[in-house]
Symmetry: C2
Subunit: 350 residues, 2 copies
Amino acid sequence: MRGWILLCLLVVCAWGCALRSSPAPPKWAVAIHGGAGTIERASMTPETDAAYRAALSAALETAGKVLREGGSSLDAVETVIRLMEDDPLFNAGRGAVFTAAGRNELDASIMDGATLNTGAVAGVTRTRHPITLARAVMEKSPHVMMAGEGADSFAQQQRLEMVDPSFFFTERRWQELEKTLKEQGDPIPARPAGAPKPQSSVSAQSAGEHKFGTVGVVALDSRGNVAAGTSTGGTTGKRWGRVGDSPIIGAGTYASNQSCAVSGTGVGEFFIRLTVAREICALVQYKNYGVQQAADEVIQKRLSALKGTGGVIVISPKGEIAWSFNTSGMYRAKMSAAAPAQISIFKEEP
Amino acid sequence: MRGWILLCLLVVCAWGCALRSSPAPPKWAVAIHGGAGTIERASMTPETDAAYRAALSAALETAGKVLREGGSSLDAVETVIRLMEDDPLFNAGRGAVFTAAGRNELDASIMDGATLNTGAVAGVTRTRHPITLARAVMEKSPHVMMAGEGADSFAQQQRLEMVDPSFFFTERRWQELEKTLKEQGDPIPARPAGAPKPQSSVSAQSAGEHKFGTVGVVALDSRGNVAAGTSTGGTTGKRWGRVGDSPIIGAGTYASNQSCAVSGTGVGEFFIRLTVAREICALVQYKNYGVQQAADEVIQKRLSALKGTGGVIVISPKGEIAWSFNTSGMYRAKMSAAAPAQISIFKEEP
């Protein structure tokens, strides 16, 4: 009898030790990006630097509030991306880059890692928050992806906030388009109807440096569910109804509780070819890679081998966060229930 | 000295044996599908059955000719899909289903397993061969995916064959749309401009049975390169610029010499959520699954678990061919340098 009691005690002790040796995952965690590209300390003013850090800090705080209060990872992703879509600093929603025809054509997607439910939109022009439309496609339609005017019509039918296309206009992006088209020797389209009168030239720095600027969020909530979302205006001067990776599930966005959640930013064509987001999660799921190792394998090795550029943020259902990019910078931030906010821009930052 | 010669001979012998023990892959191989769905022997006339088998046989012959003569797998994929796009039997190109607005909006994609180059188009309405446009996007543009009118403009600029949208009109598909919209209590749009005068009702059988009909080809060429392509009109009565899996790289189409090439058909929403095509190839690449095992895992288990329906064809760089579907039938065919043509429609066929 005493032998049995001793054995039981031993088992309980061993169990306790095992529990302690693998610490409980944080109750929630979040990572955010605001685009990767040629972002160098030498060419960024202190004001611009501070503006991006403040925007990322506000985004983290918003995410933290949702997640601390028990909100879902989907809610955190959508809420933060709405905020960033409204911020002209980023190439998403207001502040999106222009197509060669002088339009803002917006792409977004969202994915729920618990159910693999997902929604995506491409080329919308009248919906204020493309990420909310992506979520409506996921939750309120039998479809997963909608494009063009049809997607805007669905938004209207769902009573989402609609705006005049000129809502998305920013002077900086317009001058960026003019510069790009001039360099290519292409005609410059008429200034869009409803746009404010031309302003004096914005600084070359702010026009040149923001080649990318896609936004994305990955989050883990207290129920252990991961989610991912991405929103973008695409690339300056894009033509022919070009669709990038942001609305392509498996390329720019992916989430599964069985592996991880990813949002990407960069030259979308390479992200589609490499199915970057799904690839990272496949390495986690099938090869037992850690999220950092998987992200580095796909971004530093495979993306670089194709001469593609960009970056990703990754989160696992255990709350591990990774980011990886092969550009000189990526606007990025992370925070969890167990770790304070960290905001970084340049490569040499952690 | 004699010792060295003996050693060299031994090495050469061992090498020869090793080569012989894994038989050389067939010089070329191809698999084709013409859609999966509720296709049952009891409800198909002998004439319809014969028409599909003849079309699949012609498609195989076309692929065989390209590949036997040393053509690339990309050429085989494009050539066969062009043929099927012109055949009103299939839901691709001429014979595509109609949107709720009474339009034919066509999607296609193609991928080169040797380079991971790829091209995709969504929602084109004026380009006769969407698969050729997808290839032009891949080879003649800096982009990977184009949508809507922009994609048609690019086709025109590339001097591809353009047609009036009414070219894609078929009476059978129109009556299918009318039937679908009536059942849903939705308004029936005006008959498209340029469409021929209404004909007497086509048989209910031929209207009901072809719920799907996407076409796809996977091929291996004599240089050991795999390729995949898919072309579709989507689903009858689709709305809001709905995009399915066919133009989504990793969902409806994927090809990599490191794993396999896949083309899918079915309810595209599920194929996107599961990144079906990339998933099958990931299981081959990372878990050493055979192509049949990988296809069955994703289609019979995961797709069925989500209550999705459809099927895939798969080819490996070794020339192994697999198909898998969870519907009552899939129009399908395969052939290789080492094996004669096999054409099947119903589940109970091999």
